[in-house]
């Protein structure tokens, strides 16, 4: 068999070829939707046509076996049509109401977790971690797994005041955009990298290593034919390690995670917000990071009992005030919570009004 003919610059196929016929027919002409249960919604078009979406959880990291199984289910019940959500859930697109029950039954039999729609916890946006990234200070997939196990009933059944969007980033690059999540985990290094000067000499290009540092903390060390790092400027990002592996940033004894909270991306009710630091450090404790789930549970429980209906975590905290947030959650307030990075002064209290 001859090799297939390669082509360049063709871009992706046209989306129309991947839309179920009922969507093609009613494209841009939907009237309303209803959430029938935590994992099923129906969209109704102005024509009266309907499409049902059945949502299931996915670990995002999928084997070809599992993708084939999903494809087979889509073929059996959905005319072969299936989609993925921004948060990496899987949606089976059912055009024939007759298939709705049998699809859900087979999904349950096969141990899929159905849910995630409405005021619930949906899948956790996350990045590569130890599975596949050089920068990682923790394993994102592992933390996601234990958090979703812990909060499974908020995916499948129980309601929250509003959606709670969780995220995990395995280093400060935050590929998963955790900086605007209701509650998120971001992994951090806490120490200036160590330098193996002999290896630097042989393995690294000094100018590019210096240039890699976003804060300008690296300068040449001509005597050692190596580099030195100004500890006052270093923010432990690991960029230098990226271009010069003998500058070692990984440190199993000092790497762990921080927790941030109160961010959102939607414009509903209040403007999009950044997440803010709530817990500066929790040590890595694989395989199940029990200390992380404990703190997340602590924050979530107070939110569930105190927030008003439709309030997101950040809106709830803004209503009660951050000082009260630390009081009701019992989380300690430390030096790390007071900003000393580039836009710090915007976070200082410039008023005489606050709570005790």
């Amino acid at each position: 068999m001859s090799a297939p003919q390669r082509r360049t610059d063709i871009g992706p196929p046209h989306y129309k070829d991947f839309l179920p016929p009922v969507i093609q027919k009613n494209y841009g002409d939907w009237k309303y939707h209803e959430i029938l249960n935590p994992g099923v919604m129906v969209h109704v078009a102005n024509s009266g046509d309907k499409i049902w979406s059945v949502r299931v959880a996915s670990p995002r990291l999928l084997s070809t076996d599992t993708i084939r199984e999903m494809a087979a289910l889509a073929e059996k019940y959905c005319g072969g049509y299936i989609r993925f959500t921004t948060r990496n859930n899987v949606e089976f697109l059912v055009s024939d109401e007759k298939n709705l029950e049998s699809l859900q039954k087979e999904l349950k039999d096969k141990k899929y977790m159905i849910g995630g729609i409405g005021p619930r916890i949906s899948n956790i946006v996350h990045t590569q971690g130890w599975v596949h990234c050089h920068s990682a200070c923790t394993d994102a997939s592992g933390i996601v797994k234990v958090l979703m196990d812990e909060f499974a009933d908020y995916f499948t059944t129980k309601k929250l005041p509003n959606k709670v969007r969780l995220a995990v980033a395995c280093c400060v690059n935050m590929c998963g955009a955790v900086h605007c999540s209701d509650i998120a985990v971001v992994a951090v290094h806490r120490k200036v990298p160590t330098i193996d000067h002999d290896k630097v000499k042989n393995m690294c290009e000094i100018p590019s290593t210096i240039a890699s540092c976003p804060t300008g903390a690296i300068s040449p060390d001509p005597a050692k034919k190596s580099i030195k790092i100004n500890a006052d400027k270093c923010m432990y990002c690991g960029n230098c390690f990226t271009v010069c592996p003998p500058v070692e940033i990984h440190d199993p004894e000092f790497d762990g995670v921080a927790i941030v909270a109160g961010g959102k991306v939607g414009n509903l009710r209040s403007n999009p917000k950044f997440s803010k630091l709530v817990v500066p450090y929790i040590p890595n404790n694989p395989p199940r990071w029990p200390e992380v789930t404990e703190v997340m549970r602590q924050i979530l429980d107070v939110y569930v009992s105190d927030a008003k209906k439709h309030e997101r975590v950040g809106e709830w905290i803004e209503r009660i005030g951050w000082e009260k947030f630390f009081k009701v959650t019992g989380l300690p307030f430390t030096h790390q919570h007071v900003d000393d990075f580039v836009i710090a002064r915007e976070t200082f209290r410039t008023a005489a009004t606050f709570k005790w």
Binding site: Y15, A57, T66, I67, A72, Y81, R83, K145, P252, P287
Partner: protein, 402 residues
Amino acid sequence: MPKKYDTPLLDELEKGPFPSFVTEIKKAAAKNDMAADELGLLEKSYRDKRGYWKHGGIVGVRGYGGGVIGRYSYLPEEFPNVANFHTVRINSISGFFYTSKFLNEMCDIWDKHGSGLTNLHGSTGDLVLLGTTTENLEPIFAEFSSRGWDLGGSGSAMRTPSCCVGPARCEWSNIDTLDITYNITQEWQDEMHRPAFPYKFKFKTAGCAVDCIASIARADCSIIGTWRGKIEVNQDEVINYAKKGMNIQEEIVNMCPSKCMSYDGKNLKINDEDCVRCMHCISKMTKALKPVGEKGASILVGSKAPFVIGATLSWVIVPFMKMEPPYDEFKSLIRKMWEFWDEHGKNRERIGELIIRKGMREFLEFIGVEPQSQQVKEPRRDPFFFWKEEELKPNSELLKNR
């Protein structure tokens, strides 16, 4: 038979109700050498509490400068099958719609030439094929491109654009998010495949202010659908929501950020002029409330993660723009932005960082957009502003016609 590793720590992550990524890796590891070594290496990471990946040289396919991300193991002797374990990014379909036929084909190619492990999807929105060797890259590219699929973006290039489900399955979309995404992807193939920008550039398109694709937080250019007009109220449906137990005063009226609604126990009134179109009321009462009027999008620029200058959210550049094919007005705006970035941007400086460094005025003048109050939350707080030569008119002239 692939090598079998003992994985007592990872086995702990097969317990519990949520689907397990460890189970996924094991499924692939049962028949694939690369996946088997990935499992062994990951167990070692769990034991030693550290990652074992590093960067390496640039890898890719002929004629492209991106789309493949080189990944090398720290421990090539111990885990030879993941000594190089590169990621291939395949440009996803607008709205992440697929057919079983395509997914099966993708799996066939990937089982033959890769680890059998994927991410559906990566954070940027690519179909991520996780782990293969350098020799396999050309055959993989030939298999995909001969079937009509192309690579996504990486490096200092335009990244794979992505969008919310939009008009395909959402009643609130003001713009055709899928078509915009497809159209700009096709328009700028060269910018995607041959990195020539100072740094990465991401587009994300949301149909409305709910922003289901998180465009405002993670795109250099966020396109967010909006409308100029009113919210049409179906009072019968309002009554139905009340009957079904919705506390309209508490849940809708009191939560409106612009305090532009009133409710007398029967009729819901909206002062449309004061509505900021936040989508709260519409999303809670979809059968009763509907946006009507001229549809278009707000164009925002600049969001990125905290690195270097602190996190930014995208900010408004063009408050309202019609978005109809072939999107010429939008495309010429973007081309002007890229020109500005090309002229002034430093290596690894995102466009938002550049605008902050050079100032909004210079940016707006360069791209030819007038200053508008919608671009800011509030005017400046300091008196330290400058005048350009051509703006300086003497008082006598300013007072001439008084």
